[in-house]
């Protein structure tokens, strides 16, 4: 446990810093009220609005750990949302609608995984296919319009609450915890990291890297399906053009802010989810601050650059050293320790 905490400490500190920063421009940011049976406040909005990116980041973390990338998750959201809205408006009921959406996500993942693992296509190219074609597919399902529905059961996944907490927030929390347990309580995490670091050596060591690769893309599709369900339920309609648009990039950013290397290998789902929350806190903070919208992207980009630079491995030892010097502690850099160990 302490090891896990040490891993996510930079992300926790960053999140706290961003919350502090937003509170400076919008003092009521951390205020939470209880109104009409639900918790209300900007922090609650962050937890709820961050759901799609947090969910995508969970799947994306696994894909990136294998040295892959999944650009198609935004389009998969649109497909899954369209399937759910189509099923519900065709009168199939809630369970079939959810099943259709999740099946669509899993199929998308199977498609990507097969292209990558069986046909050996570069992940960025393989998933680009679905990224571009997927929205067209979703539009075929919605017939090019926003397919609206009025089914309170499905809408519950977007705007419902349980014990005062928004359902989308609960969904991503549950997904993150389940996936984290799944990979860490079994050997999946180790095996995924191994193929991400050295697929050839892992295959020779007997790891079924092909099946594992397909599995991570399926996991990513599964997460994207839930994100799509939430996005569709939220506006009570499937917007094939806009649902999940560019969210794949936010998800990748969340994984990177979470300190996971795009070169694959060691990963932390918790850190990625914190990365998603950091992004959403910035987004919500910008909206609350009331700056003209022309500044939105500039502010976001600036903050992201600052965060990434502060987390950069090239800078970290210097920062650590500077901190130690300022505290007057003996100077034993981590690099020095590494040399001594060799």
């Amino acid at each position: 446990m302490p090891q896990v905490f040490r891993r996510i400490l930079p992300q926790v500190l960053t999140l706290l810093a961003v919350i502090l920063l937003v509170s400076l421009v919008f003092p009521g940011f951390v205020q939470i009220d209880f109104e009409r049976g639900r918790l209300v406040g900007p922090i609650i909005d962050v937890l709820k609005r961050g759901a799609p990116v947090a969910l995508l980041a969970v799947g994306m973390t696994l894909v990136i750990a294998t040295r892959g990338i999944d650009l198609s998750v935004g389009a998969t959201m649109a497909i899954s949302g369209a399937c759910a809205a189509w099923a519900i408006s065709s009168g199939y009921g809630l369970i079939p609608a959810l099943a259709a959406a999740i099946a669509a996500g899993i199929l998308s993942g199977l498609w990507n995984g097969t292209l990558v693992a069986v046909f050996g296509i570069q992940p960025i190219v393989a998933t680009l296919i679905l990224m571009t074609a997927g929205r067209g597919l979703a539009q075929l399902i919605t017939e090019g319009r926003i397919l609206t529905f009025s089914h309170d059961g499905l809408a519950f996944f977007g705007s419902g609450t349980i014990l005062g907490l928004p359902v989308p927030a609960l969904i991503w929390c549950v997904a993150a915890v389940l996936f984290a347990l799944l990979v860490r309580r079994t050997a999946l995490g180790l095996l995924i990291e191994a193929i991400g670091i050295n697929r050839r050596a892992s295959t020779i060591a007997g790891i079924n890297s092909r099946v594992l690769l397909v599995a991570v893309y399926v996991a990513s599709g599964f997460c994207a399906a839930w994100a799509g369900i939430i996005a569709t339920a939220d506006i009570r309609g499937a917007d094939a053009n806009n649902s999940g648009l560019w969210l794949e990039l936010d998800a990748i950013l969340a994984v990177v802010i979470g300190g996971n290397s795009l070169m694959g290998g060691r990963f932390s789902i918790a850190a990625s989810v914190l990365g998603a929350l950091i992004i959403q806190t910035i987004d919500t903070g910008i909206l609350l601050a009331g700056f003209p919208s022309e500044f939105n992207l500039v502010i976001k980009a600036t903050l992201v650059i600052v965060i990434l630079v502060l987390q950069s491995p090239n800078l970290a030892p210097h920062l650590a050293r500077a901190l130690r010097i300022s505290r007057g502690a003996p100077l034993v850099g981590s690099s020095a320790a590494r040399e001594a160990g060799e």
Partner: protein, 508 residues
């Protein structure tokens, strides 16, 4: 001498890559640099061209001391290099590639006509019929090689280094390249030529220098050099004492009926011709042959890395499926590959995780090996194989080569396989670790009854550990030695060429 190298030494963490190497190159000479993988050829070239900083030693070019700090500086001094993978830009024209970085400029613009003329001048005398205005990529690899040579000669003009230039050329193209090399040699350039095709070395080189384990073994005139002696130099046979000891070992009963594993007609097109092999319980079979002869390919076919297209594998309990590494592991096989960095270790994982990896893969993802069990395994093998690491949680990539190799061995020993394939288990590791690994092979076979296939280019090593030695040449298994017949000179003769090997050995 055009170029002299004296006492060049270069170390990498855990390995002495070059050990006081001397090398001379005369003007107007084609000089072949030979050696097995890891002998130090490319390290020597890289120190010479400034890609690596040498630890100690002197370089003299035309009598003046030089110390290039980059390939660019080496180029300006007169040392040009052409690598196996042509490092030019295929989407630029031939002329642009030739004049890149020093295009004729008129009024601040590149003069197309002047550039073309300059390029054509550079290429004249190379016997090429190319349109310099076409993209380089539209020509064959051989033409690209020659264009690269022309560029290197034009830029440097004293020493030309060719790193395995013929690796991807066919016979006619090779001949074309050799014509160019001869012309350059006759113009007074010193040409260094790296290859492991001995025929080519004899055809083109005036002198040969052999490196082995980072040491210069010999420099000789090609004309007077016996082919067998050359192979001897490359593979080494200094440990005469050990050889004798190896021969004295009580030979294992070579009764074929007692053999546990039978491979019949196993082969894969383009990798290794079909071969038969039987391995007994506790037996060590050695596989000897030059680089590219089919020795590694034999291992990869047996382990399902490149599954066999023909043939069968049998064990006492029945036929074996060797269609993938997973299948081979299920059949009780293990494989420590030659290139441990790309095929063996998972660098960012810890020693503990690397040791547990194959065991975990066999158990399946849903049954994680308990952490206590992993720790126990790691501690046991760190102790047993004397793996030098500060602790089991250190990333394997931070260990030295020999210790990385021990971790890969530990991974397979933890599986307790019945048949372990070791491809160059001692390459590039220090002497101490070397001896330990040989002792370990002895231990697991004699004590645990494990069968082992050892591939090595060090003949004395094979002689020391193997009960039987099979020789591979030109992608075929060509000879087999047992008992007292296992002697370096016999093996060497079988490796060298059909006309050198005795007919009875050929039949064996």
């Amino acid at each position: 001498m055009l170029l002299t190298i004296r006492s060049l030494t270069k170390t990498f963490p855990g390995t002495l890559a070059l050990d006081a190497v001397d090398f001379d190159l005369a003007a107007g000479e084609a000089h072949a640099l030979l050696g097995e993988n890891g002998a130090g050829k490319s390290t020597l070239i890289k120190c010479l061209t400034g890609a690596y900083a040498r630890d100690s030693g002197n370089l003299h070019l035309d009598g003046a001391p030089i110390s290039p700090a980059s390939t660019l500086e080496a180029q300006e001094l007169g040392i040009g290099t052409v690598y196996q993978e042509v490092n030019l830009l295929p989407n630029l024209t031939v002329a642009e590639n030739l004049t890149f970085g020093r295009q004729p400029v008129r009024f601040g613009m590149i003069g197309q006509r002047a550039m073309r003329r300059q390029a054509e001048e550079l290429l004249s005398g190379y016997g090429l019929d190319v349109d310099v205005r076409r993209d380089l990529g539209s020509y064959s690899v051989a033409v690209q090689q020659i264009v690269a040579i022309a560029r290197a000669v034009a830029l440097s003009g004293k020493v030309l280094i060719l790193d395995e230039p013929t690796a991807s050329l066919d016979a006619r193209e090779t001949e074309m390249l050799f014509d160019v090399m001869r012309k350059l040699r006759d113009r007074g350039l010193g040409v260094v030529f790296i290859s492991h095709f001995l025929d080519q070395v004899y055809e083109i080189a005036d002198r040969v220098t052999v490196l082995r384990n980072g040491k210069r073994i010999v420099t000789e005139e090609t004309a007077g050099l016996d082919r067998l002696r050359l192979i001897e130099h490359m593979l080494g046979r200094e440990l005469e004492a050990q050889t004798a000891e190896g021969a004295q070992q009580p030979a294992e009963p070579a009764d074929p009926s007692a053999r546990e594993l039978h491979f019949e007609g196993i082969g894969r097109r383009g990798k290794i011709e079909p071969f038969d092999l039987s391995v007994g319980r506790g037996e060590v079979v050695g596989l000897a042959g030059l680089l590219g002869s089919g020795r590694t390919e034999t291992a990869e076919v047996l382990f399902g890395v490149h599954p066999a297209q023909v043939g069968t594998a049998r064990a006492p309990e029945g036929a074996l499926d060797l269609s993938s590494p997973r299948a081979a592991i299920a059949a009780g096989f293990g494989f420590a590959p030659e290139d441990r960095k790309t095929d063996g270790i998972v660098a960012d994982l810890s020693v503990r995780e690397n040791i547990a990896l194959a065991l975990q893969a066999r158990r399946g993802w849903s049954r994680p090996l308990p952490r206590a069990e992993q720790n126990r395994l790691a501690d046991e093998y760190i102790r047993r194989l004397d793996i030098r690491t500060s602790d089991a949680e250190k990333a394997v990539g931070d260990l030295s080569g020999g210790n990385q190799q021990k971790v890969v061995l530990a991974r397979w020993l933890a599986m307790n396989p019945r048949f372990l394939i070791l491809d160059e288990p001692t390459r590039g590791i220090d002497v101490g670790a070397h001896a330990e690994i040989l002792r370990l092979i002895e231990e697991v076979t004699r004590r645990d009854g494990m069968s082992v296939l050892v591939i090595s280019s060090e003949l004395e090593e094979l002689v020391a550990v193997a009960d039987r030695v099979i020789v591979v040449r030109d992608r075929s298994h060509v000879a087999e030695f047992t008992g007292a017949d296992i002697a370096p000179d016999r093996i060497m003769r079988a490796i060298a060429a059909p006309d050198v090997a005795a007919p009875d050995e050929e039949a064996a």
